[in-house]
Symmetry: D2
Amino acid sequence: MDLRSPMAAVASDLLRYRARHDGGYWNTTGAARFVLVSELAPLMRADGCQTFAHGCVGGGNDQRRFARYGAQVAPGLSVIEPWTNPQALERFPDREAMLAAVAEHGLRLDPGSSAERSTDANLAGISHESAELEDLETPVTRLRPRWSNWPGQGPAEPETVTVTFLDGRVADVNGSGPDPVAWMTLANEIGARHGVWLRDVVERRIIGTVCRGIYEAPGLELLERAWSRILQASLDAAGRELYDRLAAVLGAAMYEARWLEPAAQAARDGIDRLVGEVGGSVTLSVHRGLVQVERMKVASAVVQQTRFGSGGNRWS
Amino acid sequence: MDLRSPMAAVASDLLRYRARHDGGYWNTTGAARFVLVSELAPLMRADGCQTFAHGCVGGGNDQRRFARYGAQVAPGLSVIEPWTNPQALERFPDREAMLAAVAEHGLRLDPGSSAERSTDANLAGISHESAELEDLETPVTRLRPRWSNWPGQGPAEPETVTVTFLDGRVADVNGSGPDPVAWMTLANEIGARHGVWLRDVVERRIIGTVCRGIYEAPGLELLERAWSRILQASLDAAGRELYDRLAAVLGAAMYEARWLEPAAQAARDGIDRLVGEVGGSVTLSVHRGLVQVERMKVASAVVQQTRFGSGGNRWS
Amino acid sequence: MDLRSPMAAVASDLLRYRARHDGGYWNTTGAARFVLVSELAPLMRADGCQTFAHGCVGGGNDQRRFARYGAQVAPGLSVIEPWTNPQALERFPDREAMLAAVAEHGLRLDPGSSAERSTDANLAGISHESAELEDLETPVTRLRPRWSNWPGQGPAEPETVTVTFLDGRVADVNGSGPDPVAWMTLANEIGARHGVWLRDVVERRIIGTVCRGIYEAPGLELLERAWSRILQASLDAAGRELYDRLAAVLGAAMYEARWLEPAAQAARDGIDRLVGEVGGSVTLSVHRGLVQVERMKVASAVVQQTRFGSGGNRWS
Amino acid sequence: MDLRSPMAAVASDLLRYRARHDGGYWNTTGAARFVLVSELAPLMRADGCQTFAHGCVGGGNDQRRFARYGAQVAPGLSVIEPWTNPQALERFPDREAMLAAVAEHGLRLDPGSSAERSTDANLAGISHESAELEDLETPVTRLRPRWSNWPGQGPAEPETVTVTFLDGRVADVNGSGPDPVAWMTLANEIGARHGVWLRDVVERRIIGTVCRGIYEAPGLELLERAWSRILQASLDAAGRELYDRLAAVLGAAMYEARWLEPAAQAARDGIDRLVGEVGGSVTLSVHRGLVQVERMKVASAVVQQTRFGSGGNRWS
């Protein structure tokens, strides 16, 4: 089933609301949980399903995310969570027992998954976790990225990217046109090609644990450089301060699977007002992990160029 | 008069408290005003001076900064502000008239200053403003940096930098030892050599105007990459959230010349508690504008490596 | 000219958004500045006026409020502010000189105003300032309230008030019906009769000074007791936290005359989402300054009465 | 065992830090959990105890509070929580079964406790919960207060109370002297006598449920009227704003049993700086639920009485 279109719509929201988490990374895996549940539950219902099951293990965020979004989006469906069920735990003490049972039934699962490593990929980005990477002393260079070149391995020449914003959303990336799937895909390709850098993250989980992971989100990283400059030039001081507070509310809401709750809706309404008419275009030069602003044009800047340009540097 | 030592102490504070401004840049020029007034006023008094004068023009931040710090640090000194004095304004309508008068008296001033351009440099960084750069559409590449290479002009080979933190402060940079003048100087050299990037800033000024400037702070930018990782691994979720709030208070306080006021003191006390025993070391690879973490060690991490490393990715 | 209807609409906004200031009082005088400028400017324009003048003196908030609202609501009108005009100051060094000039021209002003005392009254409330009251050691009992009885002087018997809310606004007060002028007037009468208490305020002014004043807002005080209970029962934890933050933004915005700026608009949009469907009714008993909740009904409570009522106080 | 002295010390902290919860009430029951665990655990250890047990049932806050404080204060003790133990739940399905078992062993418990009602009293205040009160439509008047008169039942004459603060703490209440047990006891007596009002509370619990309760804290309510006035006159605008933020952190920390965690320690350090030298005295008149300020003296006020008192109401 192709969920790229709703996933791209959420990626567009992540950018508009700067809904980043803990230290400023794009929590694309949390966003994917929202898309999965909100898109699949109606189809399950239409097919007459009465039970919603997910295979999340204990100790992570996703058990909570599936539970919260399930309760909101599909309140009528009953839920099976094997890891909270004593009988299921006895029958399937770990992932390997479960994979064996699956194989016994003649089914095949992606052999890439292991009990030591977890990867989650969608149109907005990829998260990497593993026993090795959890050790803070393991350098990120031990990772094998899925999409991205390392910065040093990118093309010898810089690439120029022009991002256009209209009404607070991306309207175009290098001619992609306004379809979020198109500009998200293109931004990912460009960002990945030039090694726009991976985020090395320490997550304080919903469930209380803290651990380290790595995120690849080359497209969102790239677009954010353009969007943050447009914001900086378009909002006044009080607007910028409120934007940042509401963005923090939304970053936490996406992480904690509270995207549909009233506070998150209210925060989006507030930001919609602040950026609803913000636009402009930013031309970036991308090269070996580095993103530089070449030039920009803002639809409606708060900047008053009255200091030096109009002789402001005089006595009065 | 050599103020590098107090300036380095303030730079160390800027880093410890992440006292950055508006969009996240190091407001080194605001910090220098604090150092200038707090270091010079006692000497002026000791010399029997009774009046404190500064040559700030209207429309900028520094008129307020000198006024505020002057009132706090040297409450007994009377103040002369030519630009608020009608007689002075009549006699010296602009910078050129003032420079002419200076020349008439046989004195010489740095000819680099012009009515179209303003640069302010100190051990922590440099700010650039000019009529041309104020136009948001003027690319930053039109600037001639004072310290920094452009990223593409740096050495062909990466340079490795190890930053060690003890009790929430830099204790060493590549063998510099703990003297802030030493590590600040070395960090600036390394950051400048490899073009650790300039900040292209939109400032919402104390005085109400908004304008664009460029900041070079290669040392602080470099050190921040290390410090932010140490923080991320050392604070729990509530601690991190409070740290960020207090850091925002202090970023604004430094910009607005309120560093000595009670709220800023209280914010520093709060952060002192949070980071007072935080330490570790981070090894960075610096190359052509890019700073990557090679490896790190944290004195006391909140990270509990219990998910994959200890089989957390099982059913229970 | 009768501005009670727009004033009542703003009072309804103050309540909906809990736009209170510094320590939690109803800044009704700031609200009146907004109403005055936004209602009068269009009429002035229609009459062909080209200049906007106000008589505010230095040292207070209103000089800033008239300037800010004037610039936003009537950007084309030129402004005369006598106290910033050296010629006007020479001709009219103080209030008495101005009053004398007015009298010379055969005009008469309210003799109640004096250079020692300032009162400002509108449908939402009254502010009192005077040389005597500015001294923190002067008890509030030295005041002669304009509307309110002192608590001890109210009727011997309690009065019952039922406030009904619909879609986040007052819909009725004891049968007043939904017209804000009607319910605001009635709430003021009841609150004043029973001495619902005056706020003794320390204001940190826009202009930087700090001083003490007294506010009478018996109607808003009364209604707030009902509204705060409805909110408490209707919002979830994250919604309540966001509401309080946005309310603080709006309290400051009204005080500082930034009610029409983007951040205030965004804060209102956020709260509109949170309380747009909130309703219920609260019955209060009002007696000698005391307001007690007799009973309440909430349209849609977040309260889950599952603890004791459904045996929650058991082991599991 | 007499824990009044540590309980009074915590009450003094609650006031100093205004560590109130959700809508502004004194969460005295949460504070008592902190005192109980931190005072009893060292004694248990000294007696050679190896296990820490508590009888909290599911669905409430205290299960989390005992768990959190136990883990911090007595990390070496193992814990028994009957309600999370399947065997215990089978043997004791509810409170009655447990009480029966206690009786079988010839022990006697306070017969006042029932499965329908919960009261928790300590020197700082009392919380009331019951099946009946959980219904928002049940008026608070259905409660039988433990300490307080109803406002209408208080003495016919007002009572005068003078509260003196030194270095940010209560130093005296009507001659009690500085011992917190003495002034807390006296403030409770006076507040209770005059029916200083009960808080009718909706709590959003740690565990996720929401329910309604009633709190009696006559002493803290009374003292808060004095303390808030002292604060209002002693802090500047930025100091007041930071105080309020840190107080919110501490209110939540006490509710959620995070009083000993780094963020709470840092918030206390910040407020200690802001109020460490704040002092003064406030004379209140207390009568039938109403508390009015008669007069006050502040050690070091930020109020500058320069507006009317010094002719500020002039043109310039």
